[in-house]
Amino acid sequence: MKTDKDLVSINDLSVSFNTSAGVVSAVDRVNFSIRKKEIFALVGESGCGKSTTAYALMRLISEPGEITGGKIIFQGQDLLSLSRREMFNIRGKKISMIFQNPLDSLNPVYRIKSQLSEAIVLDKISKKDAWKKAVEIIKEVRIPDPEERANSYPFELSGGMRQRVMIGMMISRNPQLLIADEPTTALDVTIQAQILEIIKDLKEAIETSILLITHDFGIVAEIADRIAVMYAGKIVEIGEVFQIFEKPCHPYTQLLMGSLPRMNKKEGRLKTIFGNVPNLINPPIGCRFHERCPYSKKECQEIEPKMEEVEKGHLCACILTRK
């Protein structure tokens, strides 16, 4: 349901991969919206399709993957219907993305200054001004000795610094939406906190929305406004942060919450979810979680649950919520 507060609205997005073993249905009719000036977290375990969804948003899906259906409405346009050339104008300028591992994300043979200004000059800024702005950005992401650092190569920087450069690079053109794909997974915990701080502060400063892709609920609790939980290529629950944490509706979300170790409780064995992720080449009919769900009934194997509102702003895709 699109409202005026929505920045981007994803409708029935589907992505599949044509592998030699078969067609993998990685993302299946996914629906959610991101509002202006919010941090929206897309959460799920590895392989659930969250990164793929993000890449689809940027139209960076390449062989053997392809976007097989849906619409992505952004500023009145369906991104999936734009030409290749029109997408070049969207990326970086309106929607940009930072990646998981900052080491391979930067080109090792160019200096930081060049890689930063390469993006800035796309907005018709002169090279000299772009270099100046590059140094300013390095300052903004709190890297010490910005002038010196500007002339360094990526391999001369630490992981945390590289990620900051990435962030700086990707917000340098003031995009409306920044996608952060597991931005802290490859970093130490202490650095993680710093990076999250920067992301939060930047969001306030340039009023951008952030789509945060992660499997770490800790980060979600720290900075997210709303969450969507994904499982096996489908969204199973969407809601505000406190709704999901205090009243998780979908059995999968509940089990995830239950498996989080708590500081204040004394627990014996850590709880896990039994079973394995289903094979997405032949996804199960009906609910994709039913094989591992402790509450599953016969109907769960036959009917695919639709997203229904359980309270204001809180949606859940489970037939049990009807009760």
């Binding site: 990326r91 300028k93 993305m97 994300s105 090792p108 190569y153 690079m169």
Partner: protein
Amino acid sequence: MLNYTLRRLFQGVFVIIAITATLFLIMQLMPGDPIKLICNPRIPQERIEELRHLWGLDKPIIIQYFYWFSNIIKGDFGTSIISGQKVSTLIAQRLPYTLMLTGPALLIEFIISIFLGLIAAYKRDSIFDKVIVNLAIILRAIPIFWLGILFIMFFSLKLRILPVSGYSGFKSLILPLATLVFPYLAINLRLTRSEVLEVLRERMVLTAYAKGLNDRQVLLRHVLRNALIPTTVMFFLSLPWIFGGSIIIESVFAWPGTGKLLWKSIVGQDFPVVQGIIFIIAMLTVISNTTGDVITALLDPRIRLEIKGENA
């Protein structure tokens, strides 16, 4: 950087010595006697010994080598046993023809292979790519001398638009040049293509697109720039091999270059000429290897860091 270059060149001197010494040894071990080969059999034994002494062929091998090396540094390549001419003259007469062939051939095949390799990798699995790759596979299997002969048969004998052999101006350059270019083009093309494919898989390409760069900017500034590093190294390392190809080409097309001279001299056991030409090839090998290393360092800052570490 300068230190590094000089150091590599210095190491190169040892390589030159090693190569020429090895060939020297091989030549010495050849059966038969070059003096006897050129002499009238009725000449008395003392004269033959005198000639041998004149040529310095009666001294121990190491002394011979030493004399030869110290002379060649001064630019004195010695005299040909077979023809009596100065080796340097012989080589100088013929080297331009060989260079006329190998120089442009290297340039052409390098540029074309990069260009085609880049496009083929970018359009992977398209018809263009499949055609290019298959053509390269087939070309690589064709023996150079057979390709040359086929060209002659078709263009010179059948169509009569190009001369059959020998040097006679620009037109006569075309067929030998083409024959020299194609096989090496085939090899380098596939190498470039696979290097570009590897770079295309890297995440930094996604970053470049995510910044908002278009295809041309990403391909040229990021993909090609990075793929050039291993490609250029391979090019310079394999540069000397084109002299091997030129021996055959010069034979097929009766081209008056150093290749034919080398062949005749090896078979005729004309040591000084062989040594002279090998010395030049060895020098070119060292220079091209060093150039390859230096260019890699210029292109890849990570290597410059390693070098700094070595110097420290």
